[in-house]
C-alpha cells in the first residue's frame, strides 16, 4: 500500500499527489515514470514522476478519464494498492549549452525535473510553457527559480503571449543558438515543435502511448521510431523527435476512444 501524503489542486482540472514510495524515490531520475493502480478493481495507468522528495514522489494528474477521475477524489491519508517504478530510461543529462524546454498542458509537470537537472548541469535554460488559459497553468513559480528565461503562452491570451507554444518556439529558435530542445506535451504539439526544429537542433520528446504493464511485456505502447518498432516503456519514453512517426502515435492513441464506458486514461 502506498500512502497519499499530500494532495493539492494545481490548476483547472489538474492536481498534485505526493505519494509515499521510498524505494522509487531512491532510484528515480528525471524522465522516468511509474505505473499505479488504485485498488483491486483498478486499471494500470502510467504517470511521469514530476518531482521527488527523500521518501516520496510527486505525481501531477489531469482529470480526464476513469482512473484520473477516481484519483481526483482521493484524499490525504488514502492509499494506492499498487505503484511500480521508476520505469523507462532517464533523460540524457549533460552540459549541452543552451537548452529550450517546451511543455504544453500536463507536459509542464514531467519537464520540470528535467529542467531542474539541466540547470544543475550549468546549461542555459529557456522554458516555454503553454496552457489553455491562465487557470490551466501551474508551477510557474517553480520554473521562475530555475529558468534563465521563462515564456508563458495561453491559447486565449489570459496570461503571457496569446497562441500556441509553437509561435513562441519559432521566435526562440530564430533568436537563440540552441544546442538541445526537449518537448513534452500532446503529440500534436510535439509533432509541430519537431517540425520547426528539424535540421536545426536535436530535439527530444517524451511519448505518452497507451501502456498496460510498462515493463516491456505487452507491446501496447509500441511506436515507430526511425522505421523500427520501439516500445515507449522500455526503449523510451524519450526519443529523437525527428525520428518519431507522430501520426502513428496519434492514431494508436485513439485505439480505445470508441470503447466509451471503459475509456483509457
Amino acid at each position: 500500500m502506498f500512502k497519499i501524503l499530500q494532495k493539492k489542486k494545481l490548476a483547472e482540472n489538474t492536481f498534485m499527489l505526493e505519494v509515499s514510495a521510498r524505494k522509487i524515490a531512491d532510484k528515480a531520475k528525471p524522465g522516468q515514470f511509474i505505473i499505479l493502480r488504485i485498488d483491486e478493481k483498478g486499471e494500470r495507468i502510467p504517470l511521469t514522476i514530476a518531482d521527488k522528495k527523500k521518501n516520496s514522489i510527486i505525481l501531477v494528474i489531469l482529470n480526464v478519464g476513469h482512473t484520473t477521475g477516481r484519483l481526483s477524489k482521493l484524499k490525504k491519508g488514502d492509499t494506492l494498492s499498487d505503484l511500480i517504478g521508476p520505469l523507462g530510461n532517464s533523460s540524457e543529462l549533460d552540459k549541452f549549452g543552451t537548452v529550450c524546454l517546451v511543455a504544453g498542458g500536463l507536459g509542464i509537470a514531467p519537464i520540470y525535473p528535467i529542467a531542474k537537472a539541466l540547470k544543475e548541469k550549468d546549461n542555459k535554460i529557456i522554458v516555454i510553457l503553454g496552457a489553455k488559459t491562465r487557470k490551466h497553468l501551474f508551477w510557474e513559480d517553480k520554473f521562475i527559480k530555475i529558468a534563465n528565461k521563462l515564456i508563458i503562452c495561453t491559447e486565449d491570451g489570459s496570461k503571457g503571449t496569446k497562441g500556441f507554444v509553437t509561435k513562441a518556439f519559432e521566435a526562440v529558435i530564430r533568436k537563440e543558438k540552441l544546442n538541445r530542445v526537449i518537448c513534452i506535451g500532446p503529440p500534436v504539439m510535439m509533432k509541430a515543435v519537431a517540425h520547426i526544429s528539424k535540421q536545426r537542433v536535436k530535439t527530444i520528446v517524451s511519448l505518452n502511448s497507451i501502456m498496460v504493464d510498462g515493463i516491456g511485456m505487452c507491446g501496447s505502447c509500441r511506436v515507430k521510431v526511425d522505421g523500427k518498432i520501439k516500445f515507449a516503456c522500455v526503449d523510451g519514453p524519450e526519443f529523437d523527435a525527428h525520428k518519431v512517426e507522430f501520426d502513428n502515435l496519434m492514431q494508436r492513441n485513439t485505439r480505445y476512444d470508441k470503447i466509451k464506458h471503459k475509456r483509457c486514461y
Partner: protein
C-alpha cells in the same frame, strides 16, 4: 490385462464452454483415477521418469493412486515438484513422460498428466511447515514457474527466500498469460499460498533492474536467482502491423487474464473483435484464439507450417478445433490491411522445403498465391524475445537475443547470481523453467555452502 485405451476425464461440452472461462477439463473422479492408474505396469526401469524435466517418481505416485493412497501420491510428486496442480494441467506430457510410456507402444500411453492433476487435489493441511531456518537468504527475481520452484526448493533446504515480482499479482505467465479455462487462477494462487506457507515472502511491484538493482540484492542476500521469463513480444515487422487492433498475444491475454478487461466492472479496455485472425501455432496462439472465441469472435488461426510441426500441445489444438476455431495451415501473413483500424490481413500460401536448423521443414512462399482474409482484429502469437533490462542494468553477460548466459552450474557472469527459465533461452514451457529452477536451487545451495561454509 489392462486396457490399451486410456481413460479421458470428462470435459465441458464445446457449445457450453465457449460461453464462459470455466475450466474445460473436469479432471478424474476417484474411481476413474484408480482405473486409469491400474493400467500402469510398473516398469522395473521406468522410462517415463527420464522424460520428466523434474524427475517425478511417476510409477510410485501412480501405484499410490491405484492403492487409493491419494495423499501419499501427492507427497511423492511434491518431493520434486512444488506445482503439481499447474503441471498436471499445462505440461506437454505427450512430448515428455507419456511419449516414453511403454503402454504407448501397443495402445495409448498412461494418462500421467491427468493423474498428476488428480493427485494435486489431495493437499493435506500442513500449513506453516516449520522448516528450521538457516541464517542465509536468497532473493528470487520473478514469481512465475521458475521463480516459485527455485524459491520453494531453497525454502525447503532452510533458506529464507524473498521473491520480487514486477506485476501487481504473483504467478507470472500462469496469471497474465495462460487463460482460466486451461489453468484457473485459484489453482495457481493455491499453489502460491502453499509456497508462502513454507516461509517464502513475495514482494510485488518490484522491477529488478529499476526499483532495485541486482547489486543491491547482493548486499542483502547471499545469492540471487533470476527467473524473470522472456517477456518481450515479437512482431513480424510487416506493413500495417501498427494499425489499431493489431495486438501481441501478450497484450491481448494480459488485458483479459490479468486486468479482466472483458468484464464490465474492469476499467481496462480491450477490443472485442468480431472476426479475429491469430498468427502462430504455439500454445499462446491457441490460448489467444480460444479466448477470442469466448468473447464471441469468429476466429482463424494461420500457421506457416502444417499441423505436424505445430508446437502447441495436442490437447490445446483439439480443444480449439472443438470450439470452432478455424485453422489455415501453410499460410503466412504478408501485411495487415486497413486505414487506421484493421480491416483484413494479406496472406501467402506456403509449401514445405528442406529441414532447417530447428529440424523442421522450412516453409517457402508459393509465388502468386496471395489472398486476403477480412478481419477486425489481428493477434500476433509468434513468440517472445528476452527482456534485456536486468542483463543490461547489471552488466550480466548475455547473447545478442538478450538471453542471460550461464555456466554449467546455472551461474551467470556475476558470482552468486544464477538464472533459469526463458531468460536463459529456455524452451518456453512451465516445466522446462521448473527443471532449470530446480537445478539452480541445488547450485545456489552448493554455492552458499562453499562461500559461507555452512
Amino acid at each position: 490385462m489392462a486396457s490399451s485405451k486410456r481413460l479421458e476425464p470428462k470435459e465441458l461440452n464445446p457449445e457450453e464452454r465457449i460461453k464462459s472461462f470455466d475450466e474445460v477439463n473436469l479432471g478424474y473422479t476417484e474411481q476413474e483415477a484408480v482405473e486409469e492408474a491400474s493400467r500402469c505396469i510398473q516398469c522395473k526401469n521406468p522410462l517415463c521418469v527420464s522424460g520428466c524435466p523434474v524427475n517425478i517418481d511417476i510409477p510410485c505416485f501412480i501405484k499410490e493412486i491405484k492403492e487409493e493412497k491419494f495423499e501419499n501420491a501427492l507427497k511423492t510428486i511434491k518431493k520434486t515438484n512444488n506445482l503439481p496442480a499447474v503441471c498436471g494441467r499445462v505440461c506437454p506430457q505427450e512430448k515428455q513422460c507419456e511419449i516414453k510410456c511403454i503402454l504407448g507402444k501397443k495402445g495409448d500411453p498412461l494418462n500421467i498428466g491427468k493423474l498428476e492433476r488428480f493427485a494435486s487435489e489431495y493437499e493435506s493441511n500442513d500449513k506453516n511447515k516449520d522448516i528450521s531456518k538457516l541464517k542465509e537468504s536468497v532473493a528470487v527475481v520473478g514469481s512465475g514457474p521458475a521463480g516459485l520452484t527455485c524459491a520453494a526448493d531453497l525454502a525447503e533446504i532452510g533458506y529464507s527466500v524473498t521473491i520480487f515480482e514486477a506485476l501487481h499479482k504473483p504467478g507470472g505467465v500462469m496469471i497474465y498469460g495462460i487463460p482460466e479455462f486451461r489453468l484457473p487462477n485459484n489453482i495457481v494462487f493455491k499453489e502460491i499460498n502453499n509456497i508462502k506457507n513454507m516461509g517464502v515472502k513475495i514482494e510485488t511491484n518490484h522491477l529488478i533492474g529499476r526499483t532495485i538493482e541486482i547489486s543491491d540484492l547482493l548486499k542483502e542476500y547471499n545469492a540471487v536467482f533470476i527467473g524473470c521469463g522472456a517477456g518481450l513480444p515479437k512482431f513480424m515487422d510487416i506493413p500495417g502491423e501498427h494499425l489499431n487492433h493489431v495486438y501481441s498475444a501478450n497484450e491481448f491475454l494480459t488485458r483479459i487474464n490479468l486486468m479482466e478487461a472483458h468484464l464490465e466492472h474492469s476499467p481496462t479496455p480491450v477490443k472485442i473483435g468480431r472476426k479475429v485472425v491469430v498468427v502462430g501455432g504455439g500454445n499462446v496462439a491457441m490460448d489467444s484464439a480460444r479466448t477470442a472465441r469466448r468473447l464471441g469472435a469468429d476466429v482463424t488461426v494461420i500457421y506457416r507450417r502444417t499441423g505436424i510441426e505445430m508446437p502447441a500441445r495436442v490437447e490445446e489444438v483439439k480443444h480449439a478445433q472443438e470450439e470452432g476455431v478455424h485453422f489455415m495451415m501453410l499460410t503466412s501473413p504478408m501485411s495487415v490491411l486497413g486505414d487506421k483500424e484493421v480491416s483484413g490481413i494479406r496472406c501467402i500460401q506456403m509449401s514445405l522445403g528442406e529441414e532447417d536448423e530447428s529440424g523442421r521443414r522450412k516453409p517457402i512462399q508459393i509465388e502468386g498465391s496471395n489472398f486476403n482474409i477480412s478481419c477486425d482484429q489481428v493477434i500476433m502469437a509468434i513468440g517472445q524475445g528476452s527482456n534485456p533490462l536486468i542483463a543490461k542494468s547489471s552488466k550480466l553477460k548475455h547473447d545478442i537475443r538478450g538471453n542471460i548466459i550461464i555456466d554449467e552450474n546455472m551461474m551467470t557472469s556475476l558470482a552468486g547470481v544464477f538464472a533459469g527459465g526463458d531468460i536463459i533461452g529456455g524452451n518456453s514451457t512451465v516445466i522446462g523453467a521448473m527443471g532449470d529452477a530446480k537445478k539452480a536451487a541445488q547450485a545456489v545451495d552448493a554455492y552458499i555452502r562453499k562461500e559461507k561454509f555452512i
